[in-house]
């Protein structure tokens, strides 16, 4: 199938995991809607044969809110990226978490604006090189999963494109949980990010993610023991699963 993704891109893996999770749910294509904003991640609905909205930059979640509130019986899944959701769409993101609207948002975080050629995003790590941070990023990045927890989402987890099985299970858990679910999927972008940051090919970026991901249980243990949390590592796993009052949940 012709597509826009570069060689070695991790987005295809995340789309695959998401579609496998949707399959596991047994949803009918006519009852499922995919909605996205703008960016590499957001081209995903164009490759899926269901009703889908490829919207404007950052606004996928409010479009999805309109669909879900007027047809709560439809299953609504949002594809977005770190630039789309955390920068221009940041306000919509936190308010959707607060409303706890029954959407599952899969955010492909590649640390960069890929579509436009590798500019720094709100998730670019400190010190990382991008076309707009040529001397190294000096802004601290957002922790999207923690942000979603603080803002009120019912289900939040983070995995990477290395953790295929875990990621698929996490998306499924998100789909099953009434209310707002965020699955943050860290993905390799060898073209826009890796090649400027000594991770030239997909393989080395995937290995980097594997080696820098710390399982949630171990991360919490380190926190509890007061051990220093390594700055270049990040926790993966389930951040929260709870039952706050939600909006747009279909009546049984």
């Amino acid at each position: 199938m012709p597509h826009i993704y570069c060689t070695g891109c991790g987005n295809g893996t995340v789309i695959n995991c998401t579609l496998n999770a949707v399959n596991q749910m047994g949803w009918e294509p006519e009852d499922t809607v995919f909605i996205s904003g703008i960016g590499c991640s957001s081209r995903a609905p164009g490759y899926i044969v269901t009703d889908s909205l490829h919207t404007t930059h950052g606004r996928a979640i409010p479009f999805a809110t309109g669909v879900k509130l007027s047809r709560p019986d439809l299953h609504v899944v949002v594809f977005t990226g770190d630039g789309d959701m955390a920068a221009i769409g940041g306000n919509h993101f936190i308010h959707a978490c607060r409303r706890n609207i029954d959407l599952t948002v899969v955010c492909m975080n590649n640390y960069i604006y890929g579509m436009t050629g590798g500019q720094g995003s709100p998730c670019t790590p400190l010190g990382a090189i991008s076309t707009t941070t040529p001397y190294g990023c000096h802004e601290a990045p957002f922790d999207l999963a923690s942000l979603a927890v603080a803002a009120g989402a019912n289900y939040v987890s983070r995995w990477t494109s290395y953790h295929v099985k875990e990621l698929t299970r996490a998306v499924q858990a998100g789909l099953e949980t009434p209310g707002f679910s965020l699955v943050e999927a860290l993905v390799q972008c060898p073209t826009g990010y890796g090649r400027r940051n000594k991770l030239r090919d997909a393989h080395s970026m995937i290995l980097w993610m594997r080696d820098h991901a710390v399982l949630m249980k171990k991360w919490k243990q380190m926190e509890a023991e007061g051990r220093p949390l390594p700055a270049d590592k990040f926790p993966v796993g389930e951040f929260v699963r709870r039952n706050r009052p939600a909006m747009g949940v279909p009546e049984e």
Partner: protein, 366 residues
């Protein structure tokens, strides 16, 4: 049967929308439009509809567009600053041919300007505010009665032509209270569904494709990128873009006569007022006070697409006087369609032209 009410313009607007079958409102508070949202918040849940207060105007119009794809008649209401914020997503609605109604209760601008005073300063923004080549529909009510009727009509026009339709009103009409005859029912022209098996963005002669409502098995992909008749992106082929944009503009501009809705007084007049919205009230009074067949009036209820042919009804016209609550936005449009001299009669600051001032202006040209 009708019933009599004494309603505020904004109430009539919301009730007109409900009568037309509006069942989704996504909004954000802004003076002087807020009463529309407040009324919808009370009423929509009681008729099986959805009201949601979004985090800003960008989200409001986004939610309205999303809801429209599920087949619901959807609307929002705002004023100048919020209208500006909606421009990008309105372009998306134009590109994706999403029916939706946006009420703009105009107030004095630029910027925060005069939140509580009337203006007609957004007439060109509604026509040209979103980027790219576009065409839209705008109605402009001149009374509380017309707030009801034209809001209901806006839904029919939006569904018929699959283009955002604007109720371009102003603080005066929106906040004044007037007697209104509320009909038992209003005419409803639903959007035409897409025939099963047809390409979702292939249009017939009228340039308007059938609507593939979400959740009915169409499997339609909707994108703001330049797309082919299947709905899939094709953003580098000049022919595809040319064909799409000409159709989007042509389906609206080509239906000027079909959509035209205006009122003519004294068609043999030499001095002719052209107005829309609240200044039309002052014109009516001025023409009545002058009681001179040489003074006439053209009042537009549909402003966009502009009914250029209406000007030709005044075969003896020597001058068109265009009183507006702006520095001459529609006057410029009038001038582009006639060889007869056009004189803007601007009023800024929030007050309506007095009939006496308009009569005095008309006398200068008699």
């Amino acid at each position: 049967m009708t019933r009599l009410e004494f309603w505020q313009g904004n109430t009539a607007c919301a009730e007109g929308a409900l009568a037309a079958g509006c069942r989704f409102f996504g909004g954000y508070p802004i003076t002087p439009s807020t009463e529309v949202a407040e009324h919808m918040a009370r009423r929509l849940p009681k008729v099986g509809g959805v009201f949601v207060q979004m985090e800003d105007e960008l989200a409001s119009i986004a939610s309205v567009i999303g809801a429209s794809w599920t087949g619901k008649r959807s609307m929002t209401a705002t004023s100048g600053p919020g209208f500006s914020l909606m421009m990008e997503n309105l372009g998306y609605a134009i590109m994706t041919e999403t029916p939706c109604v946006v009420v703009n209760v105009q107030r004095g601008g630029p910027s925060t300007g005069q939140p509580t005073r009337a203006s007609q300063g957004d007439m060109m923004q509604c026509r040209f505010g979103s980027h790219g080549d576009i065409a839209v529909i705008a109605v402009s009510p001149g009374s509380v009665q017309e707030m009801y009727e034209l809001t209901a009509k806006a839904f029919n026009l939006s569904d018929r032509y699959r283009v955002p339709t604007f109720v371009m009103t102003d603080e005066i009409i929106a906040h004044m209270r007037e007697r209104i005859e509320v009909p038992d029912a209003v005419e409803i022209v639903e959007r035409r569904p897409l025939e099963k098996g047809a390409l979702p963005f292939a249009a017939g002669e009228d340039g308007v494709p059938g609507f593939p409502t979400f959740g009915q098995g169409y499997g339609v992909h909707v994108t703001g990128l330049t797309h082919d008749e299947r709905g899939y992106p094709s953003s580098t082929d000049p022919e595809v873009h040319d064909r799409l944009v000409r159709r989007l503009v042509g389906k609206v501009e080509g239906a000027r006569r079909e959509m035209a809705d205006y009122e003519v007084t004294n068609p043999d007049a030499e001095v002719v007022f052209v107005s829309y919205g609240s200044p039309g009230r002052s014109v009516k009074q001025a023409v009545r006070d002058m009681d001179d067949e040489r003074v006439g009036s053209l009042r537009l209820r549909v402003v966009w697409p502009f009914p250029d042919f209406a000007l030709q009804e005044f075969t003896n016209a020597r001058v068109f006087l265009v009183p507006e609550l702006n520095l001459g936005q529609i006057a410029r449009e009038v001038a582009s369609h006639t060889a007869v001299p056009v004189v803007p009669v601007p009023e800024l600051g929030g007050e309506l032209h007095t009939p006496a001032r308009l009569a005095k202006t008309a006398e200068e040209y008699l």
